[in-house]
Symmetry: C2
Subunit: 199 residues, 2 copies
């Protein structure tokens, strides 16, 4: 049941983002338009354009909202926690890659969002801030594992997390290789155990 | 001195790609057009459009040509070889990121190319094939280090290389963080030495 009276902005935002997400996932990036979102949400187009000046701005807000749901669990076993978190990132990337029923190994919507962040300074800044906040949570997880002695005292947390998340993005955006839980497990094993011959 | 008579296709290609690269680096993606490249190269526009149907196709060919110059050296010390190679990749990414005198931490031209690969199936396929060939050379380097006992016998070469290259692309495309030789050294140390507490 919708609340009576004028809905608060946050509720309108939530509805708009849900409708925009549904259109993107059903039809792909090209199939979403601010005008249609406004119509389906029963909101004036001018209201939407005031909040999100272009379709790129709206699409980035959709992804930011979805990523908020990717919680990091801390079980006390860093391998498990990292695999779980990478698996969530991979699932989000796969969903965007397959949006609009994209059948190719192309990055799909992920590529459009990357271009939007490169093209609009404000979107780029928002995206980088958002990843900064998101990654700070992963870095804190790694730091706790370091403090309890599970990870090396002298580790480079930033390099470690860039390697893990970066490999997923690299496959989706650049090489087109698949990403899934099995791959997340390979990544975590490689990064934690290292690759030198044991002495 | 230009050779007399009708130049061979490869020479025309080389000249066209050089001119297109200069325009992209000087003015950014938006500042390069097939028409201007044709004029500067003294080649009929129709010839260029037959070879590269869109500006995206021409830009991807420019980058493919530049990447051919990134040779991998094999000194017998895998740390040195990986750092050198990542440093070359980082330099190429920085050059594209700064094209058109881009002053922001945005991905710049890298973002445009990612979008082109996501939008045009043929460009995506070409790009993925090109990265496949390029990465096979890095995987062979890792394999040689494994065979001579420098790296673990049971290593996962694909996961290792994805982590190294992926971290560079992740910073340039997603987080906007800088990439340079010092960062390449941090990455290689983290990936080779691992992150578990030593026992």
């Amino acid at each position: 049941m919708a609340p009576r009276g004028r809905p608060r902005d946050a509720q309108v935002d939530e509805r708009v983002l849900r409708i925009a997400a549904a259109l993107i996932f059903e039809r792909g990036y090209a199939g979403m338009s601010i005008d249609e979102v406004a119509e389906q949400a029963g909101v004036a187009k001018t209201t939407l354009y005031r909040r999100w000046p272009t379709k790129d701005h709206l699409a980035v807000a959709v992804v930011a909202r979805l990523q908020e749901d990717d919680e990091i669990t801390d079980t006390g076993d860093i391998r498990v926690d990292l695999v779980n978190y990478l698996d969530k990132i991979a699932a989000g990337l796969n969903r965007m890659r397959l949006a609009g029923h994209n059948q190719t190994p192309s990055a799909g919507v992920v590529g459009e969002l990357v271009a939007a962040a490169a093209k609009h300074d404000d979107i780029g800044r928002l995206t980088r801030e958002q990843y900064g906040r998101r990654n700070a949570i992963a870095l804190a997880l790694i730091e706790r594992a370091r403090l309890r002695g599970e990870l090396r005292a002298d580790l480079d947390a930033e390099a470690l997390f860039d390697q893990l998340a970066g490999a997923l993005y690299y496959r989706v955006i650049i090489t087109g290789a698949p990403v899934d839980r099995a791959y997340a497990e390979r990544l975590v094993a490689s990064a934690l155990e290292g690759n030198l011959t044991c002495h």
